[in-house]
């Protein structure tokens, strides 16, 4: 193996957690997510020539994303086609969290809160879910998210804004699931 090949592989492997986290949030199943990541890495190897240098993360995550979307479409999970109601979902909602104190009594509540948060994110359509995950958990820049999702930066911003509004609304609606 050439040194260049080794480097490609080392860098690709260093983004495995990011790849798996994105896949796991997109397909919402542990085993499928593993399959998706493995398949995506195979594709990455196959199309490594299309990587033009620079930061590999958005390029690699883009492949992971596309692999997941192919699976989502095949399994007829057309949830991302759900109509978005701007008026309904963008209401200026008060956050229901933020008042949590750091005393032991709130621990159980916090656990509940995490569960509820995860469920609320999972309930978002995939196109909104992915921008939230990429932005808040992977801390990607808008430019990088645009590369991953193959959309203009402006669309990244509007999707992110809608995703946040939808999540806030969901969190407020189901205070206790």
């Amino acid at each position: 193996m050439t040194e260049q090949a080794q480097q490609f592989e080392a860098v690709a492997l260093s983004y495995l957690n990011a790849a798996y986290n994105l896949a796991r949030w997109l397909v919402r199943d542990e085993q499928v997510a593993q399959d998706m990541v493995q398949e995506a890495y195979l594709r990455a190897l196959k199309y490594r020539e299309s990587f033009r240098g620079g930061d590999m993360r958005p390029w690699l995550l883009g492949i992971v994303r596309n692999t997941c979307y192919t699976w989502l479409q095949q399994s007829k999970q057309r949830e991302d086609q759900v109509e978005f109601d701007e008026e309904r979902d963008s209401e200026n909602c008060e956050l229901i969290f933020g008042q949590t104190e750091s005393n032991p009594e709130t621990l159980a509540m916090r656990k509940q809160e995490s569960l509820h948060l995860n469920q609320s994110i999972n309930a978002l359509p995939a196109v909104f879910r992915e921008v939230l995950i990429l932005r808040e958990l992977e801390e990607l820049s808008y430019d990088d998210i645009a590369v991953v999702a193959a959309i203009p930066v402006g669309t990244v911003m509007s999707r992110l804004s809608r995703a946040r509004a939808m999540l806030r609304a969901a969190l407020q609606r189901g205070e206790i699931v």
Binding site: M1, Q6, E9, A10, A12, L13, S14, L16, N17, A19, Y20, N21, R24, W25, E30, A33, Q34, D35, V37, Q38, E39, Y41, L42, L45, K46, L95, F97, G98, R110, E113, S114, L117, N118, I121, L132, R135, E136, L137, Y142, M157, L160, S161, R164, L167, R168
Partner: protein
């Protein structure tokens, strides 16, 4: 886009409260083997070749693997020995890459040894070679040759040395190996029924010195 206070609060909430799914170890292993094909790959490959559409890629891989087998075989080592070298090397590289050097991080041999003994079915010799310039960083469990092994982590200046140790049982280990692969030096030896494999990117002469020190001071 301006992110207001509400957005920041929501961001913090997601960051701290939402799940972050780290890649499971077996996925890491599979992907790692896929990325750095070793002679082991053809057997393991059958598992992921269940995706039919990847037959073509699989064939290309097999070709690559066959080539690499052909190349490495030229060096005159038995195939089993050669495979072990690659496994040791992969484990070493992986330990550096995933920032998972130690399950037990301690420079105290009397902390590391009991920890390893309690997690393995043998008790590996652990020596602190700090006075000789090879401080002990810790230990962890690893997996080689189909069994759990002890990995001891030492440091030489800014370089990391992994020492894999496991009992020989009834299997002869073959002749001691001294090899250089992909810029890493490897050495193997037996002592008192244990097999040792040391791997690092330090120079071969340094690794020789390390081996001598470890053999002398490993308390056996």
């Amino acid at each position: 886009m301006m992110e207001n206070r509400e957005d920041s609060e929501l961001a913090a909430l997601i960051k701290h409260k939402a799940d972050y799914f780290e890649a499971p170890q077996d996925l890491r292993g599979r992907v790692s083997r896929m990325l750095t094909p070793t002679p082991v790959v053809p057997e393991r490959a059958s598992r992921w070749l269940v995706w039919r559409q990847w037959w073509g890629v699989g064939a290309a891989f097999a070709m690559g693997v066959m080539l690499s087998v052909a190349v490495t075989s030229l060096r005159g080592l038995p195939a089993s020995q050669d495979r072990l070298i690659e496994q040791v090397l992969d484990s070493h590289v992986r330990s550096l890459m995933v920032a998972h050097l130690s399950d037990i991080a301690s420079s105290d041999q009397h902390t590391v040894k009991p920890w390893l003994s309690s997690h393995l079915d043998f008790s590996p010799p652990v020596a602190d070679l700090a006075s000789a310039g090879f401080p002990l960083l810790g230990g962890r469990m690893d997996y080689l040759e189909g069994r759990a092994v002890a990995a001891l982590v030492y440091q030489r200046h800014l370089h990391t040395i992994n020492v894999f140790v496991w009992p020989l049982r009834d299997k002869p280990s073959g002749a001691p190996v001294s090899a250089t692969r992909r810029g890493f030096n490897l050495k193997s030896w037996d002592k008192n029924g244990m097999q040792f494999w040391a791997v690092s990117d330090i120079q071969s002469a340094e690794l020789d010195k390390f081996e001598t020190l470890l053999r002398e001071q490993s308390g056996l």
